[in-house]
């Protein structure tokens, strides 16, 4: 260990040296299956435990100093959420959100498949921090067995003083929205409810409920071990740490990578082997994200601050590379139809607005005509008018497509399309029968 290294570390000995290894959350090599409890503890050491108000307040303050934000898409400051739930009048509940209903995203599934104990550490810790006795871990069906196995290992080892309950999430796009997740856990119905109240005030059975993405909890478990200073040794001042990204489309080695926040987007693509073909566009953040020109977005730092130059943000960590010979309008039309179908069906503007927008985009993509004024009016009448942010996210994505694929819109109006291959870069499940 050289002097520079020791200078950057909290003084905690050998475990801290291991902690500095990158990647922080993912294994250095894939393919070994989930880390057992023994492997987990030998890599990361024991989770520090504490009790009582002062301990909680100190740890929440440390998370605040670390600058950890939610990794589920909204990037809300984690310490503020913890403090809000901890300060509630009733016994709180913790729900770890590993539903990952977005079809293109795999980072939460990969994290749970590789390091389930890191997430469970974070869920248990969060429960201690807010004074909850139960942590409910809701995961995608694909990783349920792994997480069940990890929870059983911990029970056998009598590791936790918090009860861990594992559930499978609803296989719906909106199923990960906080109020929909609470309703799924409580009643098996994954529908969002109107706010206020927020679930942090009144969630599961009326209790203050901490809903936190599983990647956020994994970072939390490491901050508790090695502190804010260690966490901030990666990333930018405003957005510290590392983040998991899912890279799909025309890259040589698609998959999930852990990257340092703030590295140039072109380097993020490089972590997946770089472009496998000339690129036409990038979808950044997720299906609620932003289309961008690769030449413009490539040099930008992968951070909310950096990507704001193209109206984007890291969101849920998706980067989809669209090859130049696939039509971006056709891809957008497919995703818009999917998002319209995935509306929970509760709010009129979401049901009818997203449906109308998806129809208009299908017509545009197929060269059946385009009324830009009408589409813009529909987007304005849909955005911000649901109980949750589903319509807002869908409209944001469509709006960025209209800006980036402008020349393509003109070509389509004249009966031409750039597509030499059918769309399908962005995965969309088969339509449900009504």
């Amino acid at each position: 260990m050289n002097t520079l290294d020791s200078d950057q570390l909290p003084a905690r000995g050998a475990a801290a040296v291991q902690a500095r290894r990158f990647p922080r959350l993912l294994p250095e090599r894939f393919g070994g299956g989930p880390a057992s409890l023994e492997e987990h503890l030998s890599r990361y050491g024991q989770l520090p435990h504490g009790w009582g108000g002062p301990w909680r307040e100190q740890l929440i303050a440390e998370v605040g100093r670390a600058g950890l934000t939610g990794r589920g898409g909204a990037a809300f400051p984690t310490a503020r959420k913890l403090a809000a739930v901890a300060g509630g009048p009733d016994m709180p509940v913790v729900i770890a959100n590993g539903t990952e209903g977005e079809p293109a995203s795999a980072k939460d599934k990969v994290l749970l498949a590789c390091a389930p104990h890191l997430v469970l550490d974070g869920a248990v810790l969060a429960a201690h921090m807010v004074g909850a006795r139960q942590a409910i871990v809701v995961v995608h069906d694909a990783v349920r067995e792994v997480v069940d196995g990890a929870a059983a290992e911990r029970r056998r080892a009598r590791l936790d003083r918090v009860k861990i309950k594992v559930m499978t999430g609803a296989d719906r796009f909106v199923g990960g929205e906080a109020s929909a997740l609470v309703n799924w856990v409580a009643q098996g119905i994954p529908l969002p409810t109107a706010t206020p109240p927020r679930v942090s005030e009144s969630g599961l059975r009326g209790r203050p409920t901490l809903v936190q993405n599983v990647e956020t909890l994994a970072h939390l478990a490491l901050i508790a071990r090695w502190g804010a200073r260690w966490f901030r040794s990666l990333g930018t001042t405003a957005e510290p740490g590392s983040i998991l990204v899912t890279l799909i489309g025309a890259v040589r080695q698609p998959g999930v990578r852990e990257i340092e926040i703030g590295m140039p987007l072109s380097d993020v693509l490089g972590r997946a082997g770089g472009p496998a073909a000339p690129l036409g566009a990038l979808l950044i953040g997720g299906y609620f994200g932003t289309w961008a020109d690769p030449a413009v977005a490539g040099p930008l730092p992968f951070s909310a601050e950096g990507l704001s130059a193209v109206g984007g943000s890291p969101g849920a960590g998706l980067v989809a590379a669209l090859p130049a010979d696939v039509c971006g309008l056709a891809e957008t039309a497919r995703v818009a139809r999917y998002l319209a179908d995935e509306s929970a069906g509760q709010c009129g503007p979401c049901v009818f607005g997203l449906g109308s927008i998806a129809d208009a985009l299908a017509d545009l993509a197929a060269g059946r005509g385009y009324q830009p004024g009408r589409l813009r009016r529909w987007m304005a009448q849909t955005e911000g008018r649901g109980a949750c942010h589903h319509p807002d996210g869908a409209v944001r994505m469509v709006r960025s497509a209209l800006a980036v694929f402008g020349p393509e819109i003109d070509r389509h109006a004249q009966g031409w399309c750039c597509g030499r291959r059918p769309p399908g870069v962005l995965p969309v499940p088969p339509r449900r029968t009504p």
Partner: protein, 80 residues
Amino acid sequence: MIAGARLRLNPIACDGRGLCAEVLPEMITLDDWGFPIIRDADVPPGLLDEAAEAVRLCPRLALRLDHPSTTPAASRPRAG
């Protein structure tokens, strides 16, 4: 200055019956599908009676007048 009443819509309860837009066209228009758009939630003092009437007439109980000083948001029953 004391904050005035605010007109709140629960989009889940709303079914687009449209009575509110007839009673209170100064504040409410309908979108292309017949659902109400509240232009500005702050109710001008001169329209308080009409706003209260719109709340009373809504067959879906989707409209509400919030008086910030008297109605804490967290005490509301949850929809759905």
